[in-house]
Point group: C2
Chain length 363, copies 2
């Protein structure tokens, strides 16, 4: 089957680009001297995780307990749930931990105490705020050292290490500033580890990550593990950030023109917010866009900049009048959220559809 035969909308995954992206990050991790524990929240797909494992990934990172359960049931035995463990999901987590080594993330004494009460020897990562200021303990606060000591002293839990996410790299407007965020993360984490070690608390591993930071960083001295996710597909946001070229982006939404009126300056396609998400892209995009359009995927973005200017539930508004029935491929602002709109990838090589892979979405 060819792309031109597919019903729309459909989620297209370019296999050659995917494989190049997987190889590039695996090589980077090797050069940086760190192990790679890819975040599968971006792809939620067994076939991609298997390729990551083949290329040397050590374990997986997930964002939901559902993802942990699915991948545990399919032979992935070493999983980190990189989200502060909710007290409402402890018994579910205990159940999944019966099938795989399930690492949990903690940044409060309440969560530590609740896990202690469960009685299962979870590997526990202490989450550290490396400057993003979302979750994670303040590395300068005395309470953070106390929490690390409590985890280390636990008769039940095992302190696996310290973990951070440099999400603020997404708001840095240049490669130089992203590199500075990456270096800040490295510096904060290694300094905090040194402080813990001086206080007699062993820190087995330091785990960091975000795709923008890990796409530009040159050195990660002292770091043990990285957890990028988005790099498998990239997206329009990553191309604006400089993490990738547009020609590296592996994921597009195939849509078709469904309405095009005489005299109008727009047309309507069958991909709206339930195909692309309402993510508005990077803060500093050249212009507002809900999705950039390829005329010929092989040749990259059109010079005349066709894009979606707004989305409603199933409608996308294109800033150009194209013929009814014409198929377009839309580069999404945020591939993670776009993936979560679909049940499967149509895997393509050139114009051929070579496979269909399931997307496991849930909580």
């Amino acid at each position: 089957m060819r792309i031109a035969d597919l019903p729309t909308p459909a989620l297209l995954l370019d296999l050659d680009r995917l494989e190049a992206n997987l190889q590039r990050m695996a090589d980077r991790a090797r050069r940086l001297g760190v192990s790679l524990r890819p975040h599968i929240k971006t792809h939620k797909c067994l076939e991609i995780a298997e390729r990551q494992r083949t290329l040397g990934a050590k374990g997986l990172t997930v964002s939901t307990l559902y993802e942990a359960r699915v991948f545990a049931e399919h032979g992935f035995s070493d999983i980190t749930w990189a989200f502060p463990v909710p007290l409402t999901r402890l018994s579910d987590a205990r159940e999944v931990a019966g099938r795989a080594a399930l690492g949990l993330v903690v940044d409060t004494p309440e969560a530590a105490a609740a896990l202690e009460g469960l009685g299962h020897p979870f590997p526990v990562w202490l989450k550290v705020d490396c400057g993003y200021h979302r979750a994670g303990v303040d590395p300068g606060a005395p309470t953070s050292l106390e929490l690390a000591r409590a985890l280390q002293a636990s008769r039940v839990l095992r302190l696996a290490g310290i973990l951070s996410h440099s999400g603020h790299a997404y708001h840095a407007p240049s490669r130089g500033e992203i590199a500075a965020v990456a270096e800040e993360e490295r510096r904060v984490m290694t300094a905090f580890a040194a402080r813990l070690r001086e206080a007699g608390i062993p820190v087995p591993r330091i785990s960091v990550g975000s795709t923008p930071a890990l796409s530009v960083v040159d050195r990660l001295d002292g770091v043990d593990e990285i957890r990028p996710g988005n790099y498998v597909f990239y997206d329009y946001t990553q191309s604006v950030l400089g993490s990738c070229r547009v020609a590296d982006c592996a994921l597009t939404v195939l849509a078709s023109v469904v309405s095009s009126q005489p005299g109008a300056h727009h047309s309507v396609v069958d991909a709206g917010s339930l195909a692309l998400s309402k993510d508005r892209g990077p803060d500093f995009a050249p212009q507002p866009s809900m999705g950039e359009v390829f005329e010929d995927y092989g040749r990259g973005l059109l010079g005349k900049a066709i894009r979606l200017t707004s989305l409603s539930q199933e409608h996308g508004i294109l800033n150009a009048r194209l013929p009814v029935g014409e198929r377009i491929r839309i580069l999404p602002n945020h591939s993670c959220l776009t993936t979560a709109c679909f049940d499967e990838y149509h895997v393509v090589r050139g114009e051929e559809v070579v496979d269909r892979w399931k997307i496991w979405r849930g909580r």
Copy 2:
């Protein structure tokens, strides 16, 4: 089971509020002298559609062919797919039409010709632009009359009527201006029908709709059918528009606090953009919000205005420091997109969970 026992995040549907909303719109339709063909893209749920039918709904409206198929397979025999039919889905549409009367929407000669070629006697609605300027023919253009004539003259298709959606009501900043949009829609549609009838083209029915317009309009003379969807749940946007009170909103996301750091002014909850969507709410909200928070659902919004200030994939940032483990109920900006994030509703009455209903999402 009680709400306090549920894992988070969960999608809560307040049954009393739902039933009151269903009854109110059914009564309104009766008073306005129009039949009600509710848009099920908001709820995607058989149990709710059955209640709508019991209260007098004549047929359903859907936004995807998947919804059409599911509801046809479950005994709903009269369905309008209110989306300009994509040329890529004609054979799928033909197949669904074997199980139910499937009305299709057309606004281009290309789609009309393609349907004609299929040879199935589809009921076809001519979509009219009533001022929203998204899809639909220009009611003043000669080409629109030609397209109506072609549909009416078809030996295959049956012209079911003309149809519009006043989506611009969502951008009107007051009840008065929304009422003006509703009246404009009515006037445009009845005038276009008169023009067609004068030209010898029968117009069996006029179908209009949007929840804001239909929540405020007093008269719909000349209109036959309304297709509101969102009214079953309402949401924060509708409450700002004046379509409803906050106390009418039937859908909330139950989340729990997972991270709360000493000295911080925020906490993190386990509901992000994959639980709430990235919809930013109405243009003229009192303040930017990704979701408003109830402390006590029965008493309505908190005076001190706790809200989500930003979302990432699974994290929500709350503008207040609440204790770890505390459950909150979040009123979403857009209930249709929020529903599409979940597989099921937890149906609640007061604090009791009384049922679980499946959400049928797909294309």
